[in-house]
């Protein structure tokens, strides 16, 4: 008789459902790895984002040798490179004989502060200087593309999260207020939203960007871009939340909360917005790619993050000429990373939607 039935919360149900989707798990894992890499970028990247080596401009992927000149197995090493020009003035790299730069785990390299706290100069892997290890090739100034990708992830991935949190806070609150009060307030807020939605996003972005002073340093520019991007996103969300809020405000528990003397803002936050959460979570996941792409687009045309700070967008701006792509195809890597991230966010968002919706889950009749 003492048998206990433990009920699962909505969240636990959704989680167990999510675990059953292989696609979702894989994509979530990829995102996890990307974010992990972005956080520990200083440690994982063999070089810093601005570590230049002009003699290695557009050097291709480093050849790692496992066999030395005597034909014996050896600890992996790379050789230094020298270059000649071919008939098109393109550099061709030749390995210098008798130079061995051994590969090391926890290699000594440029000094940095891990997570801004721990001062160290160890990197996850690297080769003895003066050799350079390029596992994804080098860019025009001989900077390691792999390292820059990881540093760029910091900007490209964080901009999505911060942007989304700002615009969703705005959208939820403004939509909630509009729907809850209705009448004139609703009318004014909705017309304002429509004004924002009326201007095509990209042009609004450009217009707002041109309002940012040139004297800003890179961090300020970063903040400005986050604000610009989140400023564009809130309006469409506010409209949907407003619609939900209109139906939710007629619920009896809202009246009950009013009768208990709860203030309007608290009612909106406690009793209306929590009911939009399953929609919001999905919408957040599906709109993060928009911010990543927005930043990439701005940086691509040179209005975003400025060199030498790396972001996936400004790294891609190198790849705008077809000749470059043809000769050094590895400069397209940031494009691939953007593609991967956007796909992953979309798949995770889709999977979440399937998990959070009881109708799709097939537990409730009437789907």
């Amino acid at each position: 008789m003492n048998k206990q039935f433990k009920s699962k919360s909505q969240f636990a149900l959704a989680l167990s459902e999510f675990k059953r989707s292989r696609r979702g798990i894989v994509c979530l894992a990829i995102l996890g790895i990307l974010y992990f890499g972005a956080i520990f970028a200083d440690f994982i990247a063999p070089y810093t984002y601005d570590s230049e080596a002009r003699d290695y401009s557009y050097a291709s992927l480093s050849k790692v040798h496992f066999v030395d000149e005597n034909g014996r197995f050896s600890w992996p090493f790379v050789r230094e490179l020298s270059f000649n020009f071919d008939e098109y003035h393109k550099r061709t790299y030749v390995e210098k004989d008798n130079t061995k730069c051994y590969f090391h785990l926890f290699n000594k390299g440029d000094a940095y502060k891990l997570l801004g706290l721990l001062k160290t100069d160890r990197h996850l892997f690297g080769v003895d200087s003066p050799g350079r290890l390029y596992i994804m090739g080098a860019d025009v100034r001989g900077r390691d593309i792999f390292s820059r990708l990881i540093y760029g992830a910091r900007i490209s991935l964080s901009i999505g999260l911060i942007g989304v949190s700002i615009s969703f806070t705005l959208g939820l609150l403004i939509g909630g207020v509009a729907g809850y009060y209705g009448g004139k307030i609703d009318n004014i807020i909705m017309r304002l939203c429509e004004m924002f939605m009326m201007v095509p996003g990209f042009y609004l972005m450009l217009a707002l960007r041109s309002a940012v002073p040139d004297s800003f340093n890179s961090f300020q520019v970063y903040l400005a871009i986050v604000v610009i991007l989140s400023f564009i996103g809130w309006a469409s969300l506010a409209r949907i939340i407003r619609g939900m809020s209109i139906t939710l405000r007629e619920r009896e528990y809202v009246l009950a909360a009013k009768a208990a003397g709860v203030s309007d803002l608290k009612i909106i936050i406690r009793h209306i917005l929590p009911h939009t959460v399953s929609y919001s979570i999905v919408a957040i996941m599906l709109s993060i790619p928009g911010y990543i792409l927005g930043e990439a687009a701005l940086s691509l045309i040179g209005l975003g993050i400025q060199d030498p700070i790396a972001s996936w967008g400004n790294m891609l701006s190198d790849a705008m000429a077809i000749a470059h792509i043809q000769m050094h195809p590895w400069i397209l890597m940031p494009g691939f990373m953007i593609f991967l991230t956007v796909i992953c966010f979309n798949v995770v968002g889709d999977t979440l939607r399937d998990c959070l919706d009881p109708l799709l889950r097939g537990e409730v009749d009437g789907a």
Binding site: G182, Y253, A257, K258, A259, A260, G261, V262, S263
Partner: protein
């Protein structure tokens, strides 16, 4: 004369239909003596719920109070500002609704929602609030308070939810409780227990209760006096026994003959 906790005088509530406006509550006067239970009886659409909501000023947007006054402890509630009104609601006047399932927010635990009222209206700290909530749950006769505290609204039965709702309404020890059809959706045995609970609370907490219902059975068991309403007007008031035994108005007679 017994002092009155609330005095409604010539209250007019109207709804606009295009150009015309129609009085839903038409010059109603009603008063509740301190520490008494008053039943407001009438058919559907007679305006009894509207009176209840007028007292705490939570009428739907379409309805407007066009005249009269509502004196609570000597002050006219109709002149109060929004923030002052919020002080009254929940703190001095509690309300219990007909359908307790919808009156609780389904996404929060029952205990949290009772707790919330205390958080807004009192200065108790976290531990004291929780203790008080458990005490309240116990007071309204629910078993295993700490389990009920952790439950979600849908995990309770109708009667239990109604008790939890009452616990929420009396959390801040209000002077007046407005109970809008509190027993209509419950079966008869549960009804009887809720009636007992109301009587109990009335004695223990010196709580005045305005019971809005169409069920004369409940009223006859519970109320000290009774007001009968139809078409937005109060047609008869008096002590419960007297009205029950010798109704003066035709509508009251008709109502009595039905039950």
């Amino acid at each position: 004369m017994v002092p009155k906790i609330i005095k409604i005088q010539n209250l007019i509530v109207s709804v606009k239909q295009g150009e015309q406006s129609k009085n839903i509550v038409d010059k109603v006067s009603l008063s509740i003596a301190e520490n008494s239970i008053v039943g407001l009886v009438g058919g559907s659409g007679s305006g009894k719920t509207t009176i209840g909501l007028s007292i705490i000023r939570l009428l739907a947007a379409a309805l407007k109070i066009d005249g009269g006054e509502i004196l609570f402890e000597g002050y006219n509630l109709l002149t109060y500002s929004g923030s002052k009104m919020r002080e009254i609601r929940g703190k001095k006047i509690g309300m219990v609704f007909q359908e307790p399932l919808y009156a609780f927010n389904p996404v929060f635990r029952v205990g949290e929602q009772i707790n919330e009222v205390l958080r807004f209206h009192t200065r108790l700290d976290v531990n004291k609030r929780k203790a008080k909530v458990l005490e309240l749950i116990d007071m309204v006769g629910l078993p295993y308070p700490d389990k009920i505290y952790e439950n979600y609204p849908h995990q309770l039965s109708g009667g239990m939810r109604q008790r939890a709702m009452i616990a929420q309404a009396i959390a801040t020890e209000p002077k007046l409780l407005i109970a809008d059809e509190p027993t209509s959706n419950l079966d008869v045995t549960v009804q009887a227990k809720i009636i007992e609970l109301f009587q109990d609370l009335n004695k223990k907490l010196n709580l005045s209760i305005l019971l809005i219902t169409h069920d004369l059975g409940v009223v006859s068991h519970l109320c000290d006096s009774i007001a009968v309403m139809t078409n937005g007007k109060i047609v008869e008031t008096g002590k419960t026994d007297e009205v029950m035994r010798s109704p003066k108005d035709k509508y009251t007679e008709a109502l009595l003959s039905c039950s």
